[in-house]
Symmetry: C2
């Protein structure tokens, strides 16, 4: 982790939970959608082990909701993603790559269908609202585009289910993965999805009603001791181990959904209109020239703050490392890398310069586990 401080200002918006997480011991922030995202509460490995055994509450308000409503809302949402939403259901979440006309990745949000004419796009880190506005204006769509006052908090870890059941009743345990429903607490109904940015299970509370929502946040900490609840945040070690991709880190506008392994979210054989469809058809027929893969490194400590070039034994560039961390389970550093085509094979060896030293490593398939 770095030794540089963050200079706060109104432009890096706080969330409804900022004063709480600062009392709870946040040490590091990152910035995401022009907002403060807790990135550490002390050493990452402590909360990594904790997350895999117990339960944590995270300030995840940076996942801003882009609300698109109105007569043409479904058309606009579909125009932006290569995933077929024609059979999408109210009450379900959909992971949807958002791409431009060249199939470059703009964002990888979860889309919530609130009704046939009202959608939330739960964004990763880019101003998709401006893209939607541009398209809507250009196409004369009848839509309303806004960023509603929704600050998500996330409850993650294997004991999430027991904790949430204790506070909200047994109905919450019946939510299916990527389903959402409304649950009452403190005199308000809260949209809660079974989702979250870890592979340890849990929920995301889309907090719209501040007073009742903060009461729910506080209630979880009041009763959480028996589940060993701690404040936490997306954990770099866990998310890499679980192969959860991070927009801006692992992929960006220079990459297309096939290169990121999103094949399951690309639907080309239909009559649906979306941007980048022709580009994706071309890529499908030609095959990708690079793709995201795992790497394992013979080093026990790494900090990836930018792309790091990977070279084979002949000093040919085989790709670039984009994320990485030491992993206690593998007992070595692992990471996510964009690998060039001739080097896709498992166990491709490489060298990477880390702090002036050549470190060796091997390519592997994703997911790691």
């Amino acid at each position: 982790m770095s030794n540089f401080y963050i200079a706060k200002s109104r432009r890096l918006r706080g969330t409804k939970y900022t004063s709480r997480v600062e009392k709870q011991g946040v040490t590091h922030y990152t910035v995401y959608n022009h907002m403060l995202l807790p990135a550490a509460f002390g050493p990452l490995d402590e909360l990594y082990h904790h997350l895999k055994e117990h339960v944590q509450v995270w300030d995840a308000a940076v996942q801003r909701q882009l609300e698109i409503s109105g007569k043409d809302s479904a058309k606009l949402v579909q125009l932006m993603t290569c995933r077929d939403l024609s059979k999408s259901k109210v009450g379900r979440c959909y992971y949807c790559p958002i791409i431009d006309d060249n199939a470059g990745l703009i964002n990888d949000p979860v889309v919530l269908k609130l009704s046939d004419t009202r959608w939330w796009i739960s964004l990763s880190d880019s101003d998709v609202g401006l893209f939607a506005k541009g398209l809507a204006i250009g196409r004369n769509f009848d839509v309303k585009i806004s960023e509603p006052d929704v600050d998500i908090f996330s409850v993650q870890g294997p004991k999430s289910f027991k904790l949430m059941e204790k506070v909200l009743g047994p109905k919450i345990t019946q939510l299916k993965f990527f389903g959402f429903d409304y649950f009452e607490f403190g005199g308000a109904k809260h949209l809660i999805a079974r989702s979250g940015w870890s592979k340890q299970g849990g929920y995301e509370v889309y907090m719209e009603h501040t007073e009742a929502g903060l009461a729910l946040y506080d209630k979880l900490f009041e009763v959480g001791d028996e589940f060993n609840l701690k404040p936490g945040c997306p954990n770099l070690i866990e998310r890499i181990e679980s192969s959860l991709l991070s927009y801006g880190n692992d992929m960006d506008l220079g990459d297309n959904p096939y290169e990121c392994g999103f094949d399951n979210y690309i639907n080309l054989d239909n009559d649906i209109e979306f941007l980048g469809k022709e580009a994706l058809k071309r890529i499908r027929s030609e095959g990708v020239k690079k793709k995201l893969m795992g790497v394992k490194l013979d080093i026990d400590n790494i900090s990836v703050t930018g792309s790091m070039n990977l070279y084979d034994s002949k000093n040919e560039l085989i790709g670039e490392l984009r994320s990485g961390s030491y992993n206690p389970m593998f007992k070595q550093a692992i990471g996510i890398a964009m690998i060039k085509k001739p080097y896709f094979k498992q166990s491709q060896e490489f060298k990477v310069n880390i702090n002036g030293k050549n470190v060796s490593g091997k390519v592997c398939d994703l997911p790691f586990i």
Copy 2:
């Protein structure tokens, strides 16, 4: 300044100068256009005084260039701004509010006309490229939209002129304010504008040629001693004193250009098509309901990390403070606030709660000096 660290990652892109500024003593970063922007090299007041007397070099690469080229490029650039660019000249910079169809402010960049069919939009902190892409796709414009590999460094302070003359020759001193031209150094031509985000004078080097550009950066430090050159960054104290507005801090999508005092950059009485024109005409005829003004506070230390409500003696909300800092010249804290309509008068008194204490202050006109 805050005591929280920044968690670095590839998503918060470093610049071509990051390794240099870290050797040169940067202590605080902010994040701007998904990139690291130095925010302090130790105490702000030291570099404030230095900036007003001497010369500094800043890593200003976060001002990303949105390049729009092609047959319809002028049409697209004009569509996004309320400033009339029909008589704009190659070799000039134009401060241009970018607004949406409701006249909400999306960005306040400087637009550089490189040729009739090639423009750079030097962005403040929002993904205007996505807005431009959406509009271009929606309108079927024949344009190419890209973010070229341009990392600006800024030379600011009264001794900028002598320093730059020493390295680049006397021609650089003939550049007029907001003019730009190409200057040779290290075997490459560099676009240099007389501009920058301080009121102390200086230049911005739009560095496209990395090797020659970094050589120029280093050369300035090599010869800079006689001008008392220091590494620096946009200085909160100086920029507030000089009433330089900051997008995201002082204004955002919820504000229109009239409310921000951009009257000189709004041209409504012409046949030019741009977004938000009807909304601006309505606002012009109705008058603004709030506007940015200065405030002076009876306190010698302030840290504004979010909107702070201002109340009059009857506890009526009169507006919100959006930026602020102690100012050595005024010997009190000053700031920029969005003030509601009935309270526009000079010397309007208010109270604001700072760390649990009521602090009194007065509204004043901008600019402060």
